[in-house]
Amino acid sequence: MEYIILITGLALILMGLYGIMYIKNIFRIVIAFALFDTGINIVMVTIGYLRNGMAPILDKMPTEGTTPAIVDPVPQALVLTSIVIGLGVSALMLTYVLKLYEDKKSLDINSFKDLKW
């Protein structure tokens, strides 16, 4: 099970990279980046997965010496953070795209080569 998810995540990352490097439309590049991010997040969640563990939400205070059978809560916490960060980054990117478009009236990535050498 978790292997499949892992593969999915990794595949998503690759797709994202492909998009970033190949697609010409800058707006779609942002989408591709989001894809890449999602892939990362999926991988992260998968790592925390534990066979037949429940969500890390306890219904009662665990008794001494017995560890509740839950999945690893840490990656979930981390993933939460990384999602938010990704959100921020993509919001920022979109703003950039807006401004770039205002500036050149074009979404083609090749029209933004003013800085070189």
Partner: protein, 1045 residues
Amino acid sequence: MVAPIYIIAIALGLAFTMGLFGKQLKNIAGVLFIAGLGSLTFISGQWLWNFMVNSAATEIIYTAGFKPPFAIVLQMGFEEAVLTTMINVAGLLGALYLFPLLDKKGNNAMMVYLIFIMSTNVAVMTSDIFNLFVFTEVESIALAGLILLTGQSKAFQAGMKYLIVSGISSGLLLLGIIFAYQFSGSLTIIDMINANLWAVKASSIAAFLLIVAFIIEMKPFPANGWGIDVYTAAHPGIGAMVSAAGASASLYVFYKVMPLVNGNDWYYFIALIGAITFVGSNLVATRQENPNRLLGYSSIGQVGFLMMILGLQDVLGERTLIISFSILISHYAAKAGLFWISGILNAENIKDWSALRKNPILLFLFGAFLFALIGFPPFPSFFGKWELIMTLSQTGNYSWIVVILVASFIEGIYLFRWLGYAIKLDHAQLPAFKTPWYQLIPIMSMGLILFGMSAYLTHVFNFGPAINYIPLLFVLAIFAIDFLPAYIKNTVSIAGIAYYTYYLWPSLENDLLRQIFIGIFLGGAILTLVAGYAKKGTRAGFYPMALMMFAGLVGLIEAKSMLQFFFNWELMTAGSYFLIIRGKRSMPHAYSYILFSIAGAYAILMGFGLAYGSQLNGNLDALSQISLLPALAYSLLAVGFMTKTASLGLHIWLPGAHGEAESDVSPMVSAILLKAGVFGLILLFLSIGVDNPNATTLLYVLGWVGALTTLIGNMGAVFQEDAKRLLAYSSIGQLGYILFAFTFMTHMGWLAGFTYTINHFMFKAILFLVIGGIVVKLGTHNMYEMGGMIKKMPFSFIAVLISIIVIGGIPPLSGFAGKWLFYNAVIEKGWYFQGAIIFFAGIVAFLYLFKLIYSVFLGQLKDNHRNVKEISAWILIPSYILIIGIMIFSAFPQYILQPISDMIAPHFQSETITWTGSLATTSLGYWDATTIMIVVGTAFMLLLGWLIWLSAKAQKVEQFNIVFAAERPFRPETTHVSYNIYAGYQKALGWIVAPGITNFWNTMSTNLLEFAGWTRRIYSGSIQNYTLHVILFIVVFYLISIGGL
């Protein structure tokens, strides 16, 4: 003590609060902003103080009150204190600098700036890797915002590239973190390190992803186009932040996480990447004209350098930190300062930096920053590099040394071109610029930091004794009174030098060699400075630099250790560079001079490194038994010194540099400065010793080089039309004699060498003084525009006449001593053919000597010179003092040569010269200077008397009364035959001086630049290409490091 956690609390609290202030309360926001940064600086500063003074223990901050690894832990140790202080100081000054801009953009901009600084602090302090990730993200996003402060479309493009690439690298970082976490079961860096991730392949990939992400953050060449664009597009004030604060932080972070891959090869790879970056960025920068982008390349190069040092930490051991710090702090202060200056000038092209001359303070700081980057004394980077090279060669890592030196040289290529532009280019029609206090203060404080750290690190490295403070302080004093008129400073300088000579002399008792050179250096200094009285005005900046050069020269004499020697060598180089570049058209020549000098200095440095490595003691006598690659070491040292003596192949800088220099600078650099190289060679040869198996070939080759240098130099002089260039070429020739003589390693040879050294000092000083004076008087360098000066300037004529008799080696004057000794030495040594070349060259000298004296003093007086007067007495006085010296040396050479031969006798078993009174005898021949003088003198008088008796009735006639086909030439130009009078000779032998060597160097530099231009095409400006580079970098690095390639 305020807990470091308040850095976060205060910064964030303030940032959040600022949202409350609207337009109306903006001023309060501004005040709070600065105050907040101030308090950040205070907190980190007090911790630093706490560590340095009370040597407190490292402070651990447990957030949420739980022990690690279960909660995030910050750490405030000594290093963190240093780094955070650096960051916050830069942040505070930068905020001051940027304040108007931030103020214009409103509270939001200030918030972003504040959070940028805060997150940089946390990244330094945290010891939890995920927390590190979070705050580096905060940092990069905040930066992405700060880039936009200029609001230009370029900024948006750069920001986009930056966001995408850093996003990708942080994604990889996350992958690495999560897998490393699964393996180590913890998120604190230390636990991950203890888990030995690199040991198992599974986790080694995680470790790889972690490290590669951090490496990408440091913009390795060539996967760094995205980073450079940030420097280019962002406001220079932000560039300063990125380069000073950001780079320092990311380096420290890298240093923290490096142990994650503490595998056998990993550090090697890291060092390699660093080296490639160091070389690559500097190389590409050589073609750059935009100041900010140039600084960007240079920053990345420096970061690469530091990365390399960190990668070599296994080799460097406990020196690593101090070395890297000394490099880092120079980079920190210099880059911040330079970026800020750039912000003030706001020029698109480094050529426009000549506007800087309108503000001397900034110009001075600019120079200081550049020299700090290159690693000149007394700046921290100098000691850092020295320490680094010594340690590396001690451990036999020569290839790394080569890399470092090559890269530093390339760095010099563009930095000094830049400096030259700033000092020389015309700035008349450049727009004026304002330097408001809030922008000046940050720059000046960075300057202060730089100098302060220099002093501090000198103390830390315990290099204090290396520096002869008295002259340096004197230089500073002169600099302080630079505004005074020239003659006052002149007097002060002369007095100072005279006093120092007096003070130094006792310490040189029974060390004739050093006495001779102190005489040449300081005596020459005084004489040439006397000529300076002829100059009017303040001559701003002349005296500090001249004295700096002389301080360096004195230091060479005093040097006991290699460090002292090198320190003063660099000091002298810097001073002379500024002297030379003062000339009107001397920008390109000073440029080539400094480049050759740096290259030479690095050769010397490497040679010293080998000596140190083999002897493990820093004293100069370590040179005498070099066991590591001795042949190479000696060759390097020789080449290094020969860059100063302008020997064949390394001579192309000299004609321009000496020819274009000011009239009293030429004698300084020609008669005095060149002798520094001679001094170095003498020291080298002495320590090599006679028939040292490692140096026989070297000496033989050098002998040939010397001979050919003489020929080329004299030949070159023959075909000059510019009087000073003619003298410059003759200097090359004379130095060739000297080099040749010393390579004999025999008694006679060395005696000849010393004779030539002393002679050349005297007559070249005279010639450059007088000719320089005449050139100034007549306002032209071209000899064919002069003529007939003998009637106007008889005293100059006599001075020149005497000195050319000396050069020609015509008896009875002292030049003949050199020739005679040479004949004996050559025949004794058996270097007949070299000897023949030398003598041939000696005769060739007559051609240019005649051309010089004839076309300047004889021939036809030009109409526009009808009423010129004799040159200034201030120039004639030193010349005539020197003439007296020549006369004494000619009549009674034994008084000088006999002690010298006693001095060098112990060094050579070869047959010596015996003195009976004034009669010198060798197994070959004999020579009695005094008698010759007397005979010639009397005979000359007799003949003169006879002629006078014969032609008493001789009458003076006008200039044009000549047998000119019964015509009267109507213009002097038509009958003054001077231009290219050796045409026939050139036809026959001109090929000898065909500018092959110059062409060679030109081709070299062109190719280098071409290559740079070709390399930098990878920075195509396309986001996707940059992403491509990064991915490519990652893949290749992976395949090499883990993929088993």
